[in-house]
Amino acid sequence: MKSKVTFGSVFLYGTLGLLSLFFLMPAYMAVVTALKLPLNIDLPTAWEFPTVINWSSFSDAIKLLKPNFINSLILTVCATAGSTILGSLNGYVFSKWKFKGSEVVFTLFLFGMFIPYQVILIPLFQTLRAMNLYGGLPGLILAHIVYGLPITTLIFRNFYSQIPTALIESGRLDGAGFFSIYTRIVFPLSIPGFVVTSLWQFTQIWNEFLWGICLTRHSENPITVGLAQLAGGQAVSWNLPMAGSIMAAVPVLCIYIFLGRYFIRGLLAGSVKE
């Protein structure tokens, strides 16, 4: 590309610059407000940088949201592991062991990804209550594993369809069965698939709110519910919700910034075909 200053390049960089400002504006506002002293937070000067840097909002937010943070961590790790492992096995069957009607079953699986979750909320609530799982993390983990199956199965199915069938056939000629082909051939090749799927599930489950608020009691609330309660009260000064927001965003932002390549592959897997 020539580095000439033309009207086109001015327009290009100008527009991109303005758009970047628009996209970064909320992040800037969150950081600036979180660093202010409560008495310095004032609507007309909301955009200005704090004159005195105040870190205590963060320690207060950590103190308040620490139990929620731990709940979310347990929930996310367990549910991610469960749905990823099951999704990998399902994807293996759907791509390499097709049976009569397996495409129909796969389509029926995918449908589960697109339903508005309100439609299953009432029976889910009743079922968990009947199983004595309502209110606690195990019930929430179960829900996230089940409703995570469509997307994890989809990602692994698309991933495994890239593994040449000849490789599977040669494994079978060597006398390997269903499970030994999986453990010896397919699994070792699918580490990137596991990274993509588990990062995707991690961010989805970490960010989930509807089930968190409907299916857990106060002491088991995940971080999103804790943050909503922290920010919901009108009396609270804004530095605390902003610090809490940053705290709730940090784990997923880290994934996005350091492992962004895999995150984007998960994002595309849900919509773009192989």
Binding site: S20, F114, P116, Y117, L227, A228, A231, Y256, V272
Partner: protein, 372 residues
């Protein structure tokens, strides 16, 4: 051969637990919600663990669409429709625009892409909390014009009572026919350049007839309500739409960018050799080629806008009338008012709207897989 059939059995048994789980938790539960929506959930005994349920048919739906007490739900539904359309236009438009800009390979493309996509990784509760602060009436976005020497805005982003594009719910059927006719005429005009005969016969003609019919004979249609009740586009939802576009246009950008990168450089060079300008290349070559991506984006965004709960909850709380949404109404009706039957009916309405988009999409994908 026996070995092979045993492996087949093993494969099926591996899949079985997931099939059972999906069968119960997706299809069984949807069936259960449909059933619940057709009962009265024991009326006053609704708080007990096993309320006595009586079958009432479609009464709950009739109540929601015509009942005196449920005008809030009807406004929520109207909000959801406007919200979905605005989100689609906004997020697809802005995402496509950014993707085209980044496709020019500016310097710092990686950094820019990261900036445009990071909102996508955040929870709606996080972004909703921050946007609520940004849209505070006397601060945030409203004071920004001061920094370039203009008057500050005074728009009440989340609590404005103003509404535009209002219509009378009594005339629901007529309005629905107008909308159908408008869409058909638009599609007809769009297709006119290609197969003009088919466009006129299939879309343009019927569209005009439906529109004219609704205009001439609309008064003869049954009225959906016994009294006048206006609903419109609540200006207060603009703030929520803006926040959602902010969060999701990075997603459509990523989709289009992946699509643009998949178009071979040869094709682009060929288009340029044929004298296509940069604009024409995207207008006539790249974007038509990425029609599957546009369809995916529309499906996923409409699905997101229909179940939108977290963002509105965080930005306005669950019971702000101006920015209501059926997803929030369902939550309040079910878990605050303990009216599980009405809650289930609202959920089914949402589900049916979502299914209208998703079922054709999944069927088309299934056919494509079988062919490919």
């Amino acid at each position: 051969m026996r070995e092979a059939s045993r492996d087949r059995l093993k494969a099926f048994l591996t899949l079985l637990p997931s099939m059972v789980l999906i069968g119960i938790f997706v299809y069984g539960f949807i069936g259960n919600t449909i059933w619940t929506s057709m009962t009265d959930w024991g009326g006053s005994g609704s708080l007990s663990l096993t309320p006595e349920k009586n079958f009432v048919g479609l009464d709950n739906y009739v109540e929601l669409f015509t009942g005196f007490l449920y005008s809030g739900f009807r406004q929520d539904l109207v909000n959801a429709v406007y919200y979905s359309v605005m989100l689609l236009v906004g997020a697809v438009g802005l995402g496509m625009f950014i993707a085209i800009l980044l496709d020019q390979k500016p310097k710092g493309e990686d950094v820019l892409r990261t900036i445009f996509l990071y909102p996508m990784s955040l929870s709606f509760i996080v972004s909703g909390t921050i946007w609520r602060w940004l849209l505070a009436p006397q601060g945030g976005v409203n004071v920004l014009p001061k920094y370039v020497g203009m008057e500050p805005l005074t728009f009440e982003w989340l609590s404005s009572q103003a509404a535009i594009l209002e219509f009378n719910w009594q005339n629901l059927f007529q309005v629905a026919l107008y909308v159908i006719s408008f869409i058909m005429i638009l599609v007809g005009l769009y297709l006119l350049k290609g197969d003009s005969k088919k466009a006129i016969r299939r879309w343009l003609g019927p569209g005009i007839i439906i529109g004219a019919g609704a205009w001439l004979f609309g008064g003869m249609l049954p009225e959906a309500l016994f009294m006048e009740e206006t609903h419109g586009f609540n200006m207060a939802t603009l703030g929520i739409i803006m926040a959602t576009v902010w969060q999701y246009s990075g997603y459509t950008m990523a989709l289009y960018l992946a699509g643009f990168n998949g178009i071979s450089q040869d094709l682009r060079d060929a288009a340029m050799l044929d004298g296509a300008s940069e604009v024409n290349y995207y207008r006539y070559v790249a974007i038509p080629m990425l029609k599957p991506i546009t369809i995916s984006a529309v499906i996923i965004l409409s699905h997101i806008s229909l179940k939108m709960f977290d963002l509105i909850f965080a930005m306005t709380g669950p019971d702000n009338a101006e920015t209501g949404h059926p997803a929030l109404n369902m939550f309040l009706t079910t878990f605050r008012a303990n009216d599980f039957a009405k809650g289930a009916a609202i959920a089914i309405v949402l589900f049916l709207i979502a299914a209208m988009f998703i079922v054709p999409y999944l069927v088309a994908q299934y056919r494509q897989r079988r062919r490919g």
